[in-house]
Structure formats: structure tokens, C-alpha cells
Amino acid sequence: MQDLTVRQLLDLTTAEVPNTSEHLKKAFEWHFERSMTGVKLLFGAAGSFLVALIAAALKEDIDVAWWQLAVIGASALLTAGIGMWRYKVTRDVYRQYFAALQLLRELESLGPLLRRYQSTYGVWAGSKERER
């Protein structure tokens, strides 16, 4: 998942839109929702491995070997572990939001200068990041 960068705050500063903190809040809400979708997908995948295994084991005509049980169990654990880690990262996004809000306030005092830079050297000035 693509992380938010300082670049997005600079773009918000030069965009000349009213109520930039509301826009920042919206950006973080999107970021949070996207991130939570990934978390749900990971937990869903881990759960579906286990459900499929249990369903197969309950069928009388299917014998589950120990290695199959180990591989499926480990895969489910690994996937759920990654999901857990992503959930923890996503849960802490509020800290990023507060830090970003503070930085946005500081950057706003440089708004006219940054806009002057963009109007002098083009709107896409400073777009190396996008080219990459």
C-alpha cells in the first residue's frame, strides 16, 4: 500500500483550496479505508484456508495428511500475522494524521513562496517523485 508523503501536504499547501485541514482529514480517511480493506482481505484469506480445511476434514471420504494440516495451518497463521501487523500499522495512523496536521500548519506560511516556485518553473516543478 502506498504511504502518504510530505509531497501530498505540499500539494495541498499550493492548491489554494479553503479549509486544507478538512482535505487532509479526507485524505487520511481514504488512506485508512484502503488500508483496512487490505487488512480485511488478509484476515479473510487466512480464515478461508482454515474453513476449507475444516470442511474437507469433516467429509468422511477425505483423509487429511499431517503435512497438509501443517502447511495450511502455517499459511493461515502467516497470512493472519501479516494482517495483524497491517492492522497495527493502520490503527496508529492517527499519529501520522496529527503530525501531518501540524506540518501542514507550518507549511502554510510558505504557501505563497511555494506557489511562486510552481508558477515560475511550471506546475509540475518538483515532480521527480512522480516520474519515478
Binding site: 502455517a74 507550518e106 513562496l113 516556485y117
Partner: protein, 215 residues
Amino acid sequence: MDFVSLLAIVSALSSAAVAAFQGTILRRTHEEAEKALAEARKPTVELALREGDLKGLGDYFFDTLGRLPLADYAEDTDARRVVSDAVRNVESFVRADRSSVSDGSETLIQADAVRAEDEIAMGDLWAGLSRLRRRIELALRGAARTADIPVMRMGPSQLLRRLTAEEVVPKSAARPLHRAIGICNRGVHGDYVSSEEAEEALALAADGLAQIGGQ
């Protein structure tokens, strides 16, 4: 192949792919943040401000600081300090009430003072006006030193007010200098200044500085 074997293979492959993908993203983001932070620590802002290099300054903000992930900025106190220092440095430069002459840079500024005229003539107004403002501040500091008036880190406007009050700068010189500083401040702050206004600032500064012997 039976269903459970297929399930084992699919689950193993997909979890390994997810782990590899997350690992790669994490490593790349970390490397990118480290690279951006290493670049951000270079004294680019000081150099750009000294040289009146608006492009260098903007590139530093958009291409170097801009690459820093907000997650790293929020968690890493060093990253926060680097970004804050850069913002504060530029903010104090563009603010009208702060000194734009950094310690030890007086000789350098005096040596290339004439560049302000060339830059304004070439249309590089931000560089020209920031250089002109420093030139005025420098002349005022010289006058304050001669008159033995402590001025500490006052900006050009405050300096001018103080020196006018102390009658070191005559009112006939203070008026054009005040107007010239006002135009410079607007330009340096990033507000629109026409070429005619910039030329006017040059003429006003020349008039005022000539009267206080700063030219």
C-alpha cells in the same frame, strides 16, 4: 491431485506471495525514506537562500522533503527535526520582521551585491529582491555599527525604524528605503511583484542608500 493437497499448495503459495510483497514494499519505503532523509540533511536550504535560488529551494521541498513518507515523519524525531528546521529557516527568511543576514555571510553578500540588479533585469525577481533586501539590511547594519547602536537580529524594517528614531538615517532616506523594503518583502514572501515595481525598488534603494553612504 486431491482437494486438500491443492488447498495446501494454494495457501502456501498465496501466503508466501503476500509476505514477499509486504517485505518488498516495506524495504523499498524504508530505503526511500533513508535516502530522502540523507539528502534533506545537506545544507541545501542555506545555500539556496544565500544564492537567491528559488528553483533550488522549491526542488528541495518538493523532490527531497516531498519523498519522505508521513509514517516516517511521524515516528522519527530526527526526520521531524530536519523538516522543521528547513521550514523554520525559510519562514524566517520570508518573514518581513526577521533578519535575512546569516552570521558570517556579510562579506559574501557585499561582494555580490551588484548581482541584484542583474537578476532583476533578467527577470529573476525573487533572487534579485531577496538580494536587494539583504543589501539594504547590510547597509543599515553598517550604519548602526558606526553609530554604535545595538541592533541584534532585527529585520530590515525594524532596523530602519530604529535608526530613523535615533536620527542615524535621515527621514528623506528612510522613506524610499521603507518603500523598497516593502516591495522586497512582498517579492520574497512569494506575492506578485511586477518588473516595474522591482525596478522601482532598485531605484528607491539606490536613492536611500546613497543618502546614508551605504552604496
